[in-house]
């Protein structure tokens, strides 16, 4: 016998996406998509006959979620689940404290939902199988301590039951938490708890990167990407896990996301670089991709002009992307002696000025040459 679990986390329902309101309907589309993906996942869980639907933290983007706008819509999605239990762990964004206990009670009212808000074992019966859930619920936005220590000491005297840990936070080696403020856990901590599997949340990329039967701690990543990140987060479509608990545990990755958020940094120092960028951006299938381009570098006059024209066209028609934002403040025209000689008389003020700046080669001088050149052009 076995138990099948649909494992997701970090859905961030209620995220506002305010920076995207420059494009008509995009903001509302992204906001609405957080609900849609929940519904999609419920359908996927049903297709795979999952008995458990586990959300390992941050179902909501904030702990101040409200009933009408958020909970009721979540209810409308979750009631479609055909399995036995829906388990929702409060994460560090939607943490559960005395202050918002009532809000979580609204969630608990949803059929078959258990909010894992207490540090105690939750016993579940699924067919003939017994599953005991050991949660580590968050009670604030940040915490230097994880919430799973209690599990180490608790008696686990039923060898027949599946023991499933559910926690939300930073796991050493799996994400970056310089201050150790996000419920930091180590792999030793997890091991000492003696679970059959750990269903984690907080990191927005899936870990491990492929299907596994070897790793007993799993991050599903966010099911739908939600912003531009400097890391790999966002560049892949959202995913979730379908986990089979039996004699052996196995986890299968499942695609859930519709959008990707690309944060691309490009240096353009030649027309070839620009051509490559065009090639990269003009590939097909970007209708659900949101891109943030940071372009820097120094181009010769004509290439620079071409690049700016291209960037303007990107800003204007998005080149098949759902949305594209380009930061080109650091893309400069290359000011070299060839250009100076072309434009100014030898010994003249602009010539002398630019020549002295070009000789210096440091970044400020280069910038000064570029700005000076622009002013000369303007005056001319």
């Amino acid at each position: 016998m076995s138990v099948r679990i649909f494992h997701t986390a970090d859905i961030h329902i209620g995220k506002k996406f305010s920076t995207f309101d420059v494009v008509p309907d995009l903001k509302s589309e992204l906001v609405e998509r957080r609900f849609e993906v929940l519904g999609d996942m419920v359908d996927m869980a049903n297709e795979h006959s999952c008995q458990l639907f586990v959300i390992a933290g941050d179902l909501f983007d904030t702990h101040t979620f409200n009933k009408g706008e958020h909970v009721e819509k979540v209810r409308s999605k979750l009631i479609g689940f055909e399995g036995d239990h829906i388990l929702i762990l409060p994460g560090n964004h939607d943490y559960c404290s005395e202050k918002n206990m009532n809000s979580w009670e609204w969630v608990e009212d949803i059929d078959r939902v258990s909010v894992l808000k207490e540090t105690r074992p939750y016993e579940l019966s699924i067919g003939d199988e017994k599953v005991i859930i050991y949660p580590g619920p968050c009670n604030s936005k940040i915490s230097k301590d994880n919430k799973i220590d209690w599990i180490k000491d608790v008696e686990k005297d039923d060898p027949e039951a599946f023991k499933v840990g559910v926690a939300h936070g930073h796991l050493e080696g799996c994400s970056y938490d310089s201050q150790g403020s996000y419920y930091p856990m180590s792999k030793d901590d997890l091991e000492q708890c003696g679970m059959d599997v750990w269903l984690l949340g907080h990191v927005h990329v899936q870990i491990p990167e492929q299907d596994t039967s070897l790793q007993d701690h799993l991050y599903p990543g966010t099911p739908e990407q939600e912003g531009f990140k400097r890391t790999a987060e966002g560049s892949e479509k959202g995913k979730a896990w379908i986990i089979e608990l039996g004699e052996r545990m196995s986890a299968e990755s499942i695609d859930t996301g519709k959008y990707t958020f690309i944060h691309e940094e490009r240096t353009l120092n030649s027309s070839e670089d620009l051509d490559e960028l065009k090639k990269y951006l003009e590939s097909d299938g970007n209708e659900h991709t949101l891109a943030k381009l940071e372009i820097k570098g120094r181009l010769e006059q004509d290439d620079h002009r071409d690049a700016l024209e291209y960037i303007n066209s990107l800003r204007h028609d998005h080149k098949g992307f759902r949305y594209i934002i380009v930061e080109d403040d650091d893309l400069d025209q290359r000011i070299d002696m060839e250009l100076v000689k072309e434009n100014f008389s030898e010994g003249s003020f602009p010539y002398t000025m630019l020549e002295s700046l070009i000789e210096e080669e440091d970044e400020i001088s280069k910038k000064a040459a570029e700005l000076g050149y622009d002013i000369f052009q303007e005056v001319d």
Partner: protein, 727 residues
């Protein structure tokens, strides 16, 4: 380098036009406005300086080429120029195509054919007498461009001398104007920013400037404000986390306590009665135990009393025997004391015995009285006979001649003798009375008597103790009786049975009540714990409500620390960028000022040429330019007065501008072939001065190729050997 032929096939409104430039000098392109003079100018500039493959967005392309496509819809313009350089003939051809890349070809007598912008440009750099900039700004500048400098600078109230200098030095770009623009930009970025200390400037009172200042300043403070906001949010988040942590601990404790109180509420309610019953049971059990103990004690006391009484009997028998024995010993002792007295008295007698030897010196008779009671014994001693004489107490030797009485020291010997007799009689009498045979056979009985006395005393002690014990046991029994208010042992047994029943019945009652939880000795301990928890619960609820209040009082930050952190990072990026730009403008400003102070630039070398051309145009000998170092102060008239720089008329300014232009051409083309293109150079000059100006240009054209564009045939006629090309 000299241009020999220009062909436009087509270019602008000119199609299949070939202009021969070898028929005279200067070359004058004459035509009405719109006829195509500027078209020729653009074609010439384009063929040398605008790539055929240039981007269609290129500014120069738009300015010089794009507008030259024919109106008939053709998308190609073509310029071909033949020229000579160092004795070699060249031909350059450029075709610009509006919809695709154009063609560039350079052919030379000794060069062969080079194609493509890049290679052709490379070769042109070797051939052309000056760089593109010089052509653009001096050699092929529109006349108005230089005049504009005057107008522009007049508007900015700049002095003519400066304008002149700057216009020469800057390809028509004024350092002053450049500086103004740089400073304006620097203000935009660096207002109220201290670049040396890399921090914002403060007001005289040490406060930050309010409102919007330079971008660096504004971004710095926006970032600082956000950092402060971040600190506050982090503080709030930490405080919230701490409170929630406490709240969690409290809630967990409350849960434990609450569940204990809920689980054991009935037990607690019953426990009051239970406590009474338990007390009863305890009392009764105590009574029962007491009964049991007392029953045993009574029983034991009775047994002990019985044993002790038996013992007392034995002891008393023993005592009686001992006392009899002691009486015997007393009697014997009495006789023994008498014997001792007799012995003493007899000892005295013995001590009173006298003994001696009488040595007869001669025969002697005498009587010896050995004691007072006996008769004298008469002796006769022969000479030298010795008679041993013994007596008791008194030895009287009576001879005829003397009586010798010798008395022992014992005093009254008779009395002693009597005493002995009396004592012996008394002893005998007592011995008879006591039935003891004399003489006494045993020795001193004192030791035995002492022993027996001790034994008697010990027995008496034991008897006394036994009585005491008996008394104690009797008291025990009496106490038990009193305690239980009973008079017989059977009653206590009955009471015990009764108590057992009652205890059983109470315990049965307890069994019907809720149990006290495990781990408690009794109800009191349980009740104590229950009440402690109840108090604790109340305390915790108070604490919780205080914490909740604290939590409610805390502001909910509008954004999370993570979001703000990202925003600060973004601001920092903008700040660093603005700072870089600000520093760059600062560098430009400093460098401009340095260059402006450096007067050794090319102006000095031009002075002579300008003067020469001015004199030539004005045709006034002795007219001199007044210079203050490199600065034009005015024109010294030969009649002795000076036209100050500020008083130069427009016409004079034009003449100065033309002189300047010609001087610059000479300067840039010195030592090399080359050409200068001039757009209507005489148009604004006073009619009276035009011929002189034309002659000056004519003079220049003898050495350098001069191309003039004009719409006025009269101007063309002013040049004697001109090659007038009508367009």
């Amino acid at each position: 380098m000299r241009i020999k032929e220009i062909s436009l096939e087509p270019f602008g409104n000119l199609n299949k036009n070939t202009f021969d430039l070898e028929k005279g000098t200067p070359n004058i392109f004459l035509g009405d406005t719109g006829a195509g003079k500027t078209t020729v100018f653009d074609a010439l500039y384009g063929v040398f300086f605008i790539d055929s493959g240039v981007s269609k967005a290129n500014r120069e392309y738009k300015k010089h080429i794009k507008k030259r496509f024919p109106l008939d819809g053709s998308n190609v313009v073509n310029v071909r120029v033949k020229f000579e350089h160092e004795g070699n003939g060249f031909e350059i051809e450029k075709k610009w195509n509006e919809s695709k890349k154009g063609i560039t070809v350079l052919k030379g007598d000794s060069l062969g054919t080079i194609e493509g912008d890049k290679d052709v440009n490379k070769k042109l750099q070797e051939i052309l007498p000056s760089n593109k900039g010089t052509f653009k700004n001096v050699l092929m500048a529109y006349q108005t461009k230089i005049q504009d400098v005057f107008e522009m600078d007049t508007d900015t109230q700049t002095e003519l001398d400066k304008l002149l200098r700057e216009s020469i030095k800057s390809d028509g770009i004024s350092p002053q104007e450049f500086l103004i623009k740089v400073e304006k930009e620097l203000e935009v970025y660096g207002d109220k920013w201290d670049f040396d200390r890399e921090r914002p400037e403060f007001t005289s009172t040490g406060n930050r400037y309010k409102g919007s200042k330079g971008e660096i300043h504004d971004l710095y403070w926006e970032m600082e404000d956000q950092k402060r906001g971040l600190d506050e949010i982090e503080r709030l988040e930490t405080a919230t986390a701490e409170i929630n942590e406490q709240m969690d601990d409290i809630t967990n404790e409350l849960k434990c306590i609450g569940s204990f109180l809920d689980d054991h509420r009935k037990a607690y309610q019953d426990s009051d009665k239970r406590k009474d019953i338990e007390f009863d049971i305890k009392d009764k059990e105590r009574d029962y135990d007491s009964c049991e103990d007392d029953f045993e004690r009574w029983d034991e006391a009775e047994k002990n009393i019985s044993q002790l009484e038996g013992r007392v009997e034995v002891l008393e028998d023993n005592l009686s025997n001992k006392q009899e024995k002691k009486a015997e010993l007393d009697r014997f002792s009495e006789l023994y004391e008498l014997s001792k007295k007799i012995d003493i008295e007899e000892g005295k007698l013995e001590a009173g015995e006298l003994e001696g030897n009488i040595l007869g010196k001669e025969k002697t008779s005498f009587e010896v009285y050995k004691d007072t009671s006996s008769d004298p014994e008469g002796f006769t001693l022969a000479q030298d006979e010795v008679k041993e004489v013994k007596a008791k107490g008194i030895l009287q030797i009576h001879t005829d001649r003397f009586h010798i009485d010798i008395h022992s020291g014992m005093g009254d010997f008779e009395q002693v003798l009597e005493n002995v007799e009396v004592l012996k009689d008394h002893q005998k009498e007592k011995a008879d009375e006591y039935g003891i045979t004399l003489p006494l056979q045993e020795r001193d009985p004192a030791k035995k008597l002492e022993d027996i006395k001790e034994e008697i005393s010990a027995i008496k002690g034991e008897i006394k103790d036994a009585h005491k014990d008996i008394e104690h046991y009797e008291e025990t029994i009496s106490e038990i009786k009193n305690n239980h208010e009973i008079s017989s042992k059977s009653e206590i047994s009955e009471k015990r049975i009764e108590l057992k029943k009652e205890i059983g019945s109470l315990k049965e009652k307890l069994r019907t009540m809720a149990d006290i939880p495990e781990g408690f000795e009794d109800t009191s301990e349980f009740r104590e714990r229950y009440e402690e928890y109840r108090g604790r619960k109340e305390h915790i609820l108070n604490e919780k409500s205080k914490l909740l209040e604290k939590l409610n009082q805390m502001e909910t930050p509008s954004s999370s620390s993570q979001e703000l952190q990202e925003s600060i990072e973004e601001l920092d990026k903008r700040f660093q960028r603005a700072l870089k730009i600000g520093k760059a403008y600062l560098l430009l400003k400093d460098r401009t000022q340095e260059l402006m102070e450096d007067g050794s630039m090319i102006y000095g070398e031009l002075k002579g040429n300008i003067e020469r051309h001015l004199k030539s145009i004005l045709n006034i000998d002795g007219f001199e330019i007044q210079m203050d170092e490199v600065v034009l102060q005015g024109l010294d008239h030969p009649e002795g007065y000076t036209i100050p720089r500020s008083s130069l008329s427009t016409g004079q300014k034009d003449i100065v501008a033309l002189a300047l232009r010609l001087a610059m051409a000479e300067y840039y083309l010195q030592g090399t072939d080359g050409f200068i293109a001039m757009d209507d150079p005489l148009v604004n000059i006073d009619p009276g001065k035009r011929k002189a100006a034309a002659d000056t240009i004519q003079e220049l054209s003898e050495g350098k190729q001069v191309l003039i564009m004009t719409c006025d045939p009269a101007h063309a006629e002013l040049f004697e050997d001109a090659n007038v090309i009508e367009v």
